[in-house]
């Protein structure tokens, strides 16, 4: 029985729905080290022809690799790096199978592992991870969106310099975290130099975890949030959001 639980959902953005194109976000969740959990969110590049395939392949491969990995905190950085490399290898293999260039499957990646007392986050590109501190319940931006100088540029799993742009951080005393893709950024962060969590967005989400008894019902609640009028109005992009929390401290 895992001490961590994960709920989440992914919706196709109104812009993609209008264009008749597929949703290009994907996410996956799994167990980690017996008592922990892992999650991976990927956002396919808008201009990549097979972005939705790339996002799906990477999310699944990263979670599969993490589920098999050692769970010690000292090895967390290396564990995440290897899982991300496995995700990239799976993408390259799928591109070869489809006989397309890897960039046709370009996507970003945010992966997190959650254990008793610590969490670790690997992040390539945009999207964000916000944590709740175990001691005082304060919100903390654990990983900020990363991009080039311009607002419409970011880094992808397929970028040549992906390993340079992959950021991995280990954080102690985090009792819950929320991972979002780019489509949720406008709604959930306060724009600025690095950005900061918008508390009226995240606080109700973390409070919500205390009431969850049925994971499928909770997933459906998140789906309704992402597909609600406020979120649709905030961005026409695909949106994915996952929350992980420690149930038995």
């Amino acid at each position: 029985m895992s001490a961590w639980q994960v709920v989440g959902a992914s919706v196709r953005g109104p812009d993609h729905a209008r264009e008749g194109s597929p949703g290009q976000d994907a996410w996956a969740r799994g167990l980690f080290g017996g008592r922990g959990a892992c999650v991976c969110l990927c956002d396919g590049a808008g201009s990549a022809s097979h972005a939705e395939v790339g996002a799906r392949v990477v999310a699944d491969a990263v979670v599969a690799a993490l589920a098999e990995a050692p769970a010690g905190e000292s090895a967390a950085t290396e564990t995440l790096r290897r899982a991300c490399a496995a995700g990239r290898a799976a993408l390259l293999q799928r591109a070869a199978d489809l006989a397309v260039a890897p960039t046709a499957l370009a996507c970003t990646l945010v992966a997190a592992v959650c254990m008793d007392g610590w969490v670790a986050v690997a992040h390539l590109g945009d999207g964000a991870v916000v944590g709740r501190r175990a001691d005082d319940g304060e919100l903390a931006l654990l990983s900020a969106p990363d991009r080039g100088e311009y607002v419409n540029e970011t880094w992808f799993v397929t970028s040549a310099a992906w390993a340079t742009h992959l950021r991995i951080g280990v954080h102690d005393e985090i009792s819950a975290l929320c991972v979002v893709t780019d489509g949720c950024q406008e709604a959930s962060l306060v724009r600025g130099d690095r950005g900061s969590p918008f508390a009226p967005f995240f606080a109700p989400l973390f409070d919500f975890t205390a009431e969850v008894s049925d994971l499928a019902a909770a997933d459906a609640e998140v789906l309704r949030l992402l597909d609600g009028a406020a979120m649709r109005g905030s961005s026409g992009d695909d949106k994915t959001l996952a929350i992980a929390w420690l149930t038995s401290p």
Partner: protein
């Protein structure tokens, strides 16, 4: 408990990212007959941007004229507030000084964006001319700076000449992108194309390519210089 969707509040206070644009307009004396069309084009550009709910708050533009001397008309302003300046033709063609001015304006603007925490798109510089630079002493330095800025992805420079323009000179500015030759009296189409390009760019998201609609197609406003 109420539904999650009713409890979570969405931040709608973030300020829009900006798309800066510098319009460099040749107002040397030979432009006399073209300027009414350019002025009408600027007005059409204003109208198209104001009518676009996204572009009106994101595109920020400034007009710099070069005819006898270089004049910057006001500061960068949101398209919603843009007023096309009156244009009158006189003097020679200080194109090098105008390009240098555009680069300086953009560097200052980007610094201001960063200081106020605003995100921005790669700036555009759009140069219109019917001739060639007359400030040749400053030209090599202007070419060097423009090329360096393009190489460092600091901006995108698009140059458009009428049939009398010196295309070899314009080509010196951007080795990777050919200058375009405006078809006879196609100013209106060109400005409409610019509006559409700005509208598309100002909506783009990470990973989107923003291909410019090909202006040299059969119904386009431009041709490649021979």
């Amino acid at each position: 408990m109420s539904a999650l969707v009713d409890r979570v509040r969405v931040n709608d206070n973030n300020r829009e990212p900006r798309q800066p644009l510098v319009l460099l307009v040749d107002t040397s004396s030979s432009m006399t007959n073209d300027l009414p069309d350019v002025a009408a084009g600027l007005d059409g550009l204003r109208g198209a941007l104001v009518g676009d709910p996204v572009a009106r708050n994101r595109v920020e533009l400034v007009v710099v004229t070069f005819g006898g001397r270089v004049t910057t008309h006001g500061d960068f302003g949101e398209a919603a507030l843009f007023e096309p300046p009156p244009l009158s033709a006189s003097g020679d063609t200080p194109m090098a000084a105008a390009l240098t001015q555009a680069l300086d304006l953009l560097e200052a603007k980007k610094l201001a964006y960063r200081r106020s925490g605003l995100d921005y798109y790669r700036p555009l510089v759009f140069l219109l001319t019917d001739g060639e630079p007359t400030d040749m002493a400053r030209w090599p330095e202007a070419v060097r700076r423009v090329r360096e800025a393009e190489r460092d992805r600091k901006l995108v420079l698009l140059t458009v000449g009428t049939s009398t323009a010196s295309f070899p000179r314009l080509a010196e500015l951007c080795p990777g992108r050919v200058p375009l030759r405006l078809k006879e009296a196609q100013w209106a189409s060109m400005f409409q194309w610019l509006s559409r390009s700005l509208q598309a760019r100002s909506r783009s998201r990470p990973g989107d390519e923003v291909p410019l609609e090909d202006p040299t197609g059969p119904r386009g406003w431009g041709t490649l210089p021979s």
